[in-house]
Amino acid sequence: MIHIENFSKKFGDRTAVDNLSLKIAKGEIFGLLGPNGAGKTTTIRVLTMLTRPTAGKIVIDGCEASHQEQHIKSVIGVVPQHFNLDSDLTPWENLELHGRLHHMVPQVRNQRIEELLKFVELEDRAHEMVQKFSGGMKRRLMIARALLHQPKVLFLDEPTVGLDPQVRRRLWDLIRHLKNEGLTVLLTTHYIEEAENLCQRVAIMEKGRLIAIDTPMELCQRLGSYAVEWADEEGTKTKFFADRNEASAFAATLVTTTTLRQTNLEDAFVELTGRKVAG
């Protein structure tokens, strides 16, 4: 569904994304992880036609971005990181504007607006001003907006940042529900457990480069399925083991409080991005 080949983006001398290639299949939830400034948002901006790549080829839904930009725009839905709803309009009007911009027939448009407002549970507030909405409500409305024209691919840039845990979980359910309907989802996130929970595959980026791409489970198993974590005077340390017995044997040799647990995606992320110096 999404096919990126040797894509680079430079802003002046600074390289934001360096020679990125990846393929995302139809119906997949794909996560893009990485520390701040890794190039995730730039990648999303290029894939959503907001920024043009410096080099490389991007194909979405069988259309190449450099030739068929308008077609791609009509099959993608985008939820950006920042709230970019029109605060001079009501939710209904925001959705209507979106529907008009996507050339939806009035009858279908109105029906979809009603359906989606119900879907994100905002139907009773359809005619209030967006300005007064909370972060969670705005985010839900943005998701409704992105889905209004029945896109084939949904881009979510940090969809749950700053949301309550309850709202976050509801959004996860919503995203899974969309996947079951055949939508391809590409999301970026800071919350590793979010990617672990939602994504079939994740790519980890650092300094504009792709450093790993796999299922969350594979990435964890690369390190070893079990982790022993302890603290000494230098800080928290973690060691990974393929086997549970080995891990517990090692834990027994330590005199401080230790934790033996299954390796998670966060461990993989930290190890790969090298933000934690190995002991």
Partner: protein
């Protein structure tokens, strides 16, 4: 394409409709002040070209007011939308052409300029001005609104902060409001300055409106210059909308 232009225009119309009362009231303030200060106060004993000063400045006030309103109706909201609210992205990711966006925005800004001009015309009549409103007058006014709505669009796409937008107002619009034949005929100014003033679009708007109101010859040259400005600004606008994606 027409449908997309209408969509862009429709959004602004929706917002304007909601605030129409406030819009009209606030638009009455500055023209009333100009009319009182320059028409009644200062102008009572001044004669210009054998007519009253009030009759002389009404076209000037209309020109400068439609300039300010058209410019600021597009400039400031679009700049905020691009730089702060990021709502411009909603249009950038939509399958519409840059040209539709530019035309829709410029048209909606021009509409606001026209509405506020209509308010001034009505006010001017109540203040006792005698003016001849013809079809050519309407054409000149529409052109002036379009010139500055499209200039507002260009400024909004170029300036990166709200402060720069305000500076643009101070350095470009404010001098024009005083110098471009709005309150006086710039015949007695030094040649270089006069030459410069001749180049500015608002001068042509004032000239054109005044010539038409006083029943003179149709100012084809001035109208042509305004049309040229509109074409140039809209062209630059479309180019900037494309460039914003680089």
């Amino acid at each position: 394409m027409l449908y997309d232009i209408w969509t862009v225009f429709w959004r602004d119309w929706l917002v304007l409709k909601r605030r129409i009362g406030r819009f009209i009231l606030s638009r009455m303030v500055s023209p009333i002040l100009y009319l009182v200060a320059f028409g009644w106060g200062l102008g009572r004993n001044i004669q210009v070209n054998q007519g009253s000063y009030l009759d002389f400045i009404v076209p000037g006030i209309i020109a400068l007011n439609s300039m300010n309103i058209s410019f600021n109706s597009v400039g400031s909201p679009l700049n905020m939308s691009r730089v702060y609210h990021k709502t411009l992205e909603e249009y950038l990711i939509a399958p519409i052409s840059s040209m539709s966006f530019v035309i829709g925005k410029v048209a909606s800004g021009a509409l606001r300029g026209l509405l506020s001009s209509l308010i001034i015309i009505l006010l001017a009549f109540t203040f006792g001005a005698h003016a001849l409103i013809t079809i050519w007058f309407a054409i000149a006014l529409v052109l002036n609104c379009l010139v500055f709505a499209s200039m507002g669009l260009v400024a909004a796409m170029v300036m990166n902060t709200h402060e720069d937008m305000a500076n643009f107002n101070t350095y470009v619009l404010l001098p024009m409001s005083f110098l471009c034949a709005t309150f006086f005929i710039p015949d007695h100014l030094p040649t270089v300055l006069r030459w410069l003033i001749e180049f500015l679009p608002l001068t042509h708007a004032s000239h054109a409106l005044r010539a038409i109101v006083s029943g003179g010859e149709t100012p084809v040259f001035s109208l042509f210059i305004m049309a040229a400005y509109i074409t140039a600004f809209c062209g630059i606008g479309v180019w900037l909308m494309e460039k914003v994606r680089e």
